[in-house]
Symmetry: C2
Subunit: 328 residues, 2 copies
């Protein structure tokens, strides 16, 4: 394996209080990706049944405090493994919510630890509501006094423009980011997203709106505070969206457990190898169960499996996509 | 004021463990609405600046434990006021999330207290994600071991069919309910929802899909486990949706602070006065600040303002909509 760039420091000082354009989320993301020399976004999706045995042994899954502690410890250890390697992580709110209030406490600790380790944190909550309630979500996750303190949040577009505005406003004020669902990676995503309305499909209408918001919030790097979620499982649409959305950072899920390969995401990048972060969750955090790592590492060396899987994805993206330019 | 039906008992024993068709969410909702003689859904949207002074006095809004305690006490008192009057309440997750993990603890307590007081609890979270993550949300809020224990959850349709299936499955297994966003009440909701795709607009495509799910999960009352959110601010569409979705319970927001009147929701009901629950949040829970109640009750008698506003909405719905038949 070529470990070019592995010794670069990914450390940075979280500076959410500096809301200058130069410190905008887009700028910080661009710098973080360049500093690390790769665009990998590690998904933190703790699932009880998939945890290494050491986290489950002696714990009763019906004891939610115990499960929350296990999720916290597991995610903190993953963060410590990947912090020197990648620019950002994405905790998935659903798995923490499934553990109740104790799980939410663990989520807050996970976000705080990741930021302390210099990682950008994109909280995956796919939130949204009517304007006045959307303001509460924006304040909750991205606001000045946010008890969660994420750098960015994923949001759903179904409620339209006045539901997105509060997020954009807080993103501007707080140098935070927002990723709007455009073309999701799941097989059924097309049911409504692919409906053709006039010249464009629904997701292309959403894409046009998101690109406008990105343009309006663009930082010196050329990208805006508003990004798009665009699935790796639809490589053709990913290419089309890239050219239609030149100011929009892409969050690309679907690589790994969902079946897409590094090659499938090549079209998501700009010519300089920026513009896209590529998410992998299960294939990295539960790498100890993967066929290719099981014998070599297994349960007891699960952290080494996480590191190996992260390095493997970094290498695949370097060799198969324009992200290779980041490491040169 | 005519208080017909006010002495009926709204008490019932929450029976989530009985998953027979006769105990399905649709059946329980129908029975609760008939028992109370009205379709009012009180929204629990605690906002710090709007709380009666007694909850804010001596508390620092930067102290999240204190804010969470205030939200908990405020909502519990509202529940005690409205439990003898209405069939259901709808806590809005966003306002609790804005207070961090302590706020989520308060949310769990609010849900538990409402159910203990015999109210059906529809948690407004507008959640969703790809299938495997949607399963975690479904388990979190509606599952057998749910730490929140809601009777129903609002969900977003943008991610398509495989994102909705896990909620439908849990709803079937657990006699729980799901309300899918169809036509939202906010002014900007039309941006994507009203796009015309072939013969139908996007929200009508969503409506057709939701009606199919409702039909497939229909209980003896004729309604299914899958309902629709359809805003009172679009009365014409509400009528069209009612006739297109005969098996679908409607959750109708938009009355009160959002500007719609009782008359605007008349089209949401079936001929028997069931089929729709009408949400009002701010106009009820912050009634002490409303012009018509301010002098009469004011801050110190805020609970009486809540009761008066609830009774007023009940009466308006009885005189202006088919829900009047419930009280006869």
């Amino acid at each position: 394996m070529d470990h070019a760039g592995e010794n670069r420091s990914c450390e940075y000082s979280p500076a959410m209080n500096d809301t200058s354009a130069a410190n905008s989320f887009a700028e910080r993301l661009t710098q973080a990706v360049r500093r690390c020399g790769n665009p990998v976004l590690v998904g933190l999706d703790p699932r009880w049944d998939s945890l290494p045995a050491s986290f489950r042994n002696g714990r009763d899954p019906a004891d939610l405090c115990g499960v929350a502690d296990a999720y916290r410890s597991f995610c903190l250890e993953i963060i410590d493994v990947v912090a020197p390697l990648v620019p950002c992580v994405k905790p998935q709110a659903a798995f923490f919510e499934d553990v109740g209030p104790e799980g939410m406490r663990a989520l807050a600790d996970v976000v705080a630890h990741a930021r302390q380790r210099g990682l950008l944190v994109i909280l995956d909550g796919k939130r949204n509501d009517i304007g006045s309630t959307a303001s509460a979500y924006a304040s909750a996750y991205l606001g000045e006094s946010s008890p969660w303190g994420a750098d960015a949040l994923t949001v759903s577009p179904y409620l339209g423009d006045d539901s997105l505005s509060p997020f954009v406003q807080v993103a501007r004020e707080r140098a935070a980011g927002v990723f709007v669902l455009v073309k999701t990676s799941n097989p059924g995503g097309g049911l409504f997203q692919d409906l053709r309305a006039g010249e464009l499909r629904v997701f292309e209408h959403v894409a046009a709106y998101v690109e406008r918001l990105a343009f309006e919030t663009a930082a010196p790097c050329g990208y805006g505070a508003v990004g798009a979620v665009a699935g790796a499982t639809y490589p053709e649409q990913l290419c089309e969206l890239r050219s239609a959305m030149p100011h929009t950072w892409f969050l690309v899920p679907g690589v790994g457990a969902q079946g897409a390969s590094a090659r499938d995401v090549a079209g998501a990048f700009d010519a300089a190898g920026t513009g896209a972060i590529v998410n992998s969750s299960r294939a990295i955090i539960f790498a100890h169960s993967r066929k290719e790592y099981k014998t070599r590492f297994g349960d007891s060396l699960w952290q080494q499996a996480v590191e190996a899987a992260t390095r493997q994805l970094i290498e695949e993206l370097r060799s198969e996509t324009p992200a290779g330019k980041l490491a040169t």
